[in-house]
């Protein structure tokens, strides 16, 4: 059966190559039959990749240990779901997943748009063919999931901390996001290559971009939540290179999503949009490269591998290609209208672009700094957390403010007077909130206070929009149903505000305290008193060795009255791991987080964290998802819009 898998991948490679070469020839010579043939090749490529994927799935689920990949990533006692998700557990499998999703998306995108965007699709096919050629080449020649080895009795297992529902959902969501960004990129390239840079490519790919962006965003929140409950250091994001690898394309895609609204409304920022979509795509491939090549020190460990060099080459080549394309088509991309005033909605979108790109580039710079310093000085230097936190505030706070100003400021030009008039309620609420927070003690962190007041400002603007709209149309449901993009967008903005409040609350206003406690001793943190009650040792023997779980029990009083426990497991196979105890106060959104650090003599070192409002982060994830779904919801009118445009042009 591995032979079938290998053969299927070779067929995929040939089909992708054909789509690239024949597709290009067909686009240049305008040969319909060849163009159709290239398009079919791309669809057939999905078919053969699906066959290869099926072979791998079967091998994983039946524990066929003659496959090196199955041996390395599953074991007999692994639950079926984790054997399945082992598909993307390793490098080869994740490359196969990339190719599967890419060709699947591509097949759908080119089929749906083959009539209305005939002139553009004829170029989209070879562009995607090119990307697919790279990935299928890697799978055939460099990193094959179908390598066979002498059959073993059992395979390596999956570490227990990765065996949970979050880790089932997190990687595929991220992949659906990463790969999804290839579609708008390919259409943008197609528009430029065909010379038809009108807005059809944007209308056609709007939902693809939104969906990819949503998957990428939600996937990151899932990862953050897993880190919080499972890894147990009390945090959820560490500015680790692999985490940043997902954040950067998401930020670029956010800028792109907003910027295209301006192109649709005003015909401006067209060059920006081409640059942004290419940036989002390149960052998503670069992200995959960073994660998988081990080229940068990260606590997420993936085996260092040979694919690094190939990926870097692909990223460089495709970046040069995009740049050349944009430079060539610059005359076609000139704006239809000019920016009239720095105080206008168009301008706020421009500022939005600038801030998001600045943040993205800052993170990128922090990412590659170690590599660059190693190259140029022979000495690797790193940028630590403070660098990233600092710039997140510098760029994030103004972005927060813009979320509130943007929807309310007038098009074309506004005056300071008019703006103040429109914003008087949000400003008033923000100032009152700020004052109330200072009284409540939030003045301890200046950035925190500023962030909170900005959040109050933005939330007020969103509420006002909903109230006004509902009053005018009579029904909230009708309002949202008929203006999905606008109000769905507001819901997403609200989720970002919730996210900001959660992040600020849990970091700027959180408490961390570590103390050794003897039995009966108490430690106090804001809102809670914790008393060390008892300790229990539970030894166990598993297939991989012996382990002892040491569990400490705490009596808690204050905002919560009850018992909490936390454990530390000493396993002969895995070393030490901690199982944290978390108590969530849903009314306050606050978490009491306890870690049993160490037992020393008759004292136990407990680390206690109070994380105010942290649960808003997870709630924000769901609000984000909901808002995105509202914006994504199919709209028959939009399809008709494309149709009417084209038939008029043909008439």
């Amino acid at each position: 059966m591995p032979d079938l898998g290998r053969a299927a991948l070779v067929v995929s490679f040939m089909l992708a190559l054909y789509a690239l070469v024949a597709g290009t020839a067909a686009a240049i010579t305008r040969q319909r039959r060849m163009a159709d043939s290239a398009r079919y090749a791309l669809i057939a490529c999905f078919g053969s990749t699906a066959v290869a994927s099926g072979v791998l799935v079967r091998a994983l689920v039946t524990h066929d240990f003659s496959y090196a990949y199955v041996q390395a990533h599953t074991s007999r006692d692994l639950k079926t779901i984790y054997s399945l998700t082992a598909f993307w557990g390793g490098e080869e499998g994740s490359l196969l997943l990339w190719l599967l999703v890419l060709t699947g998306y591509a097949a759908l995108a080119v089929t749906l748009n083959r009539k209305l965007l005939k002139d553009v699709v004829v170029w989209v096919v070879p562009v995607i063919g090119g990307i697919a050629t790279f990935f299928s080449f890697m799978l055939v020649a460099v990193a094959s999931p179908f390598t066979t080895v002498p059959r073993s009795v059992d395979g390596a297992g999956l570490v227990p901390s990765l065996q949970n529902p979050y880790m089932v959902a997190h990687p595929p969501m991220l992949y659906l996001g990463y790969v999804g960004l290839s579609i708008p990129f390919a259409f943008a390239a197609g528009a430029m290559l065909s010379g038809h840079t009108d807005e059809r490519w944007i209308i056609a790919t709007r939902r693809w971009t939104l969906a990819a962006w949503t998957f990428l965003g939600f996937g990151q929140i899932l990862g953050a939540h897993w880190a919080y409950v499972e890894v147990g250091w009390g945090g959820y994001y560490a500015w680790d290179p692999v985490e940043n690898a997902a954040l950067m394309p998401w930020l670029a895609a956010t800028a792109f999503l907003h910027s295209v609204m301006i192109q649709e409304r005003k015909g401006m920022l067209r060059i920006w949009n081409m640059v942004l979509v290419a940036l989002a795509f390149e960052l998503s491939v670069f992200g995959t490269f960073l994660t998988r090549s081990g080229v940068i020190e990260s606590i997420h460990s993936f085996a260092k591998s040979s694919i690094g060099g190939w990926f870097l080459g692909f990223v460089v080549a495709s970046t040069l290609f995009s740049m050349a394309l944009i430079l060539w088509r610059l005359p076609l991309l000139k704006a239809r209208t000019k920016l009239e005033s720095p105080l206008s909605r168009e301008a706020t979108f421009l500022y939005n672009n600038l801030l998001l790109v600045a943040l993205t580039l800052t993170i990128f710079w922090g990412e590659i700094f170690p590599i660059l310093t190693q190259l140029f000085t022979g000495q690797q230097q790193t940028m630590g957390r403070p660098y990233f936190d600092f710039f997140l505030r510098i760029f994030g706070l103004p972005l927060l403010l813009l979320m509130g100003i943007g929807p309310l400021i007038a098009w074309r030009r506004s005056s300071a007077r008019a703006l103040m008039k429109t914003l008087r309620w949000p400003i008033a609420v923000a100032l009152v909130t700020g004052a109330a927070l200072i009284i409540a003690g939030a003045g301890s962190s200046a950035p925190g206070l500023i962030a909170y007041t900005f959040c109050a400002f933005v939330l007020t603007t969103i509420v006002i929009e909903f109230v006004r709209g509902t009053r005018a149309t009579g029904s909230l449901f009708q309002l949202v149903a008929r203006n999905r993009r606008r109000y769905g967008g507001y819901i997403v903005h609200a989720s970002i505000v919730l996210l900001a409040i959660g992040i600020v609350g849990s970091s700027a206003y959180g408490t961390t305290k570590e103390l050794p406690l003897a039995r009966g001793q108490t430690m106090t943190v804001p809102g809670y008193k914790l008393t060390y009650a008892s300790l229990k040792d539970t030894p166990s023997v598993t297939e991989t060795g012996r382990s002892v779980e040491t569990r400490g029990y705490l009596k808690v009083s204050g905002r919560f009255n009850g018992t909490m426990s936390t454990a530390y497991v000493n396993s002969s196979a895995l070393g030490i791991s901690h199982e944290v105890g978390i108590h969530t106060d849903w009314l306050r959104g606050e978490d009491l987080y306890v870690i049993l650090d160490q037992v020393v003599g008759n004292k136990v070192y407990f680390k206690v964290l109070v994380k105010p409002l942290v649960n808003l982060i997870w709630i924000a994830g769901y609000v984000f998802l909901f808002g995105s779904l509202v914006t994504l919801w199919p709209d028959a009118r939009e399809q008709r819009r494309l149709v009417t445009r084209l038939s008029l042009a043909r008439a």
Binding site: A7, D119, G267
Partner: protein, 162 residues
Amino acid sequence: MIALVLGALIAVAAVVIVALPFIRDNGEPELIDFGSESEEILELIEERDRALAALKELEFDHRTGKVDDEDYRETVGPLRRQAAEALQALDARTGKRSTGEGSAAEDLGEQEHVQGDDHDGDSGRDDVGEPAVDERAHQVAARREPDQRNERERDPEREHDL
């Protein structure tokens, strides 16, 4: 053994799929026709849609109170003029391409028919069943148009796709 057979089958299937367009004939022309004229018309359509959408948005914002009366009055005039100009330009362009008198009305009729389905007209053409003749009259008497348009814009049932 089975693997090899299946593999061969996949390869054969791939070749067949790729060869299909060369083997069968679906009656479409050999060369893909894009038409450079279409690009110009598309641009005009975009400008028209943009102008009409801007008008719609202004009406909605005014209705919900985001834009006050003074600002509304200031902005609505130029926007309406822009919309009228865009409509004129587009109709002039599509009208030019007709071969005879009859086809001018045909073109408009087609536009009408296509947009009639689009009964919530995000292009702003919400006039289901509006006779073609009226449209011509609209273009000529641009000044009358804003008032009639205004009425339709005010209809709270109008959807608003932003």
